[in-house]
Subunit: 170 residues, 2 copies
């Protein structure tokens, strides 16, 4: 149930090899994930799911229709890599969300606190994820752009992030 | 026959819109191109072809089997974007190549000089592309990883680049 014993950021340049990567892009973002992040548009939702989530069956209902994987990473490690390139939506409250613990919707277990820290880091300020009830989360996941399953084994390691925009550099 | 009237680098942030892009990644690299660049490994060859090249038929023989496009860009603009992320091979002489002018193999027309400048810029030093005879280029293209067709309309705007490696940051 514990986190996978890696320091966030080390896998990108180490364990999976430094070979075959791209300049300035985190190696943990594999080809399929990178293509999907690029293809997403403003407001599209990405699901980052734990190992217990019915990721394959849900993914088949999404826009891409095909499950993506970021294996052997915790939820926070996966989000750390994703947020190096993905801008978060600044227009809405549900720019990011976590699956609520059943019967304790306000509880934020460590797996969710770690991801909140990654979001705060990426945003450069504290910006709180919304809680999403379990079955509402499933509905949102089926309507999402794509599902990525991580190696996160802790319960409630399921998240959504909504893509934002990057303005032209004028 | 002239170059498409854009300054290299401006399209990425301007004309195609700044929306829906990724942090720190050139917007001219579309989802399919980005995924393929990431999926390539050391020594794999990428073909960047002009509009007259039989790109679709040749692409069907490649590893990916599917033509990619970087539309409305000159060859130099496309290579400028590609080389923001793709490392070039440092192990071999044919790390990059240009289709030789038939009957004048040593001639370097402006379309090829522009690309040479982009390679030199990316490498941080002059590093000369090899010339490849036209039919040898076709053979290499069919055996390549993927073909990208640009909007380059000038003759002999056909190039190959070979992916290099990025070492782990230890």
């Amino acid at each position: 149930m514990g986190a996978i014993p890696h320091t966030p950021g080390t896998i990108g340049q180490g364990e999976t090899g430094g070979l075959c990567v791209l300049k300035g892009i985190d190696n943990r973002l594999n080809a399929e994930v990178l293509g999907v992040l690029r293809a997403m548009g403003h407001g599209d939702v990405l699901i980052v799911a734990d190992t217990n989530f019915p990721a394959d069956s849900v993914a088949r209902a999404t826009v891409t229709g095909k499950l993506l994987r970021m294996e052997n990473l915790t939820a926070a490690e996966a989000l750390n890599a994703i947020l190096t390139v993905l801008p978060l939506d600044t227009f809405v409250d549900d720019f990011a969300g976590r699956m609520e613990v059943v019967g304790a919707p306000d509880e934020v277990p460590p797996v969710q606190a770690e991801v909140q820290a990654e979001i705060d880091r990426a945003e450069g300020k504290p910006r709180k994820m919304v809680g999403i009830e379990r079955f509402a989360f499933y509905d949102m996941a089926r309507a999402s752009y794509a599902v990525i399953q991580t190696g996160e084994r802790r319960f409630y390691g399921c998240f959504m992030v909504r893509k934002g925009v990057i303005p032209p550099e004028v």
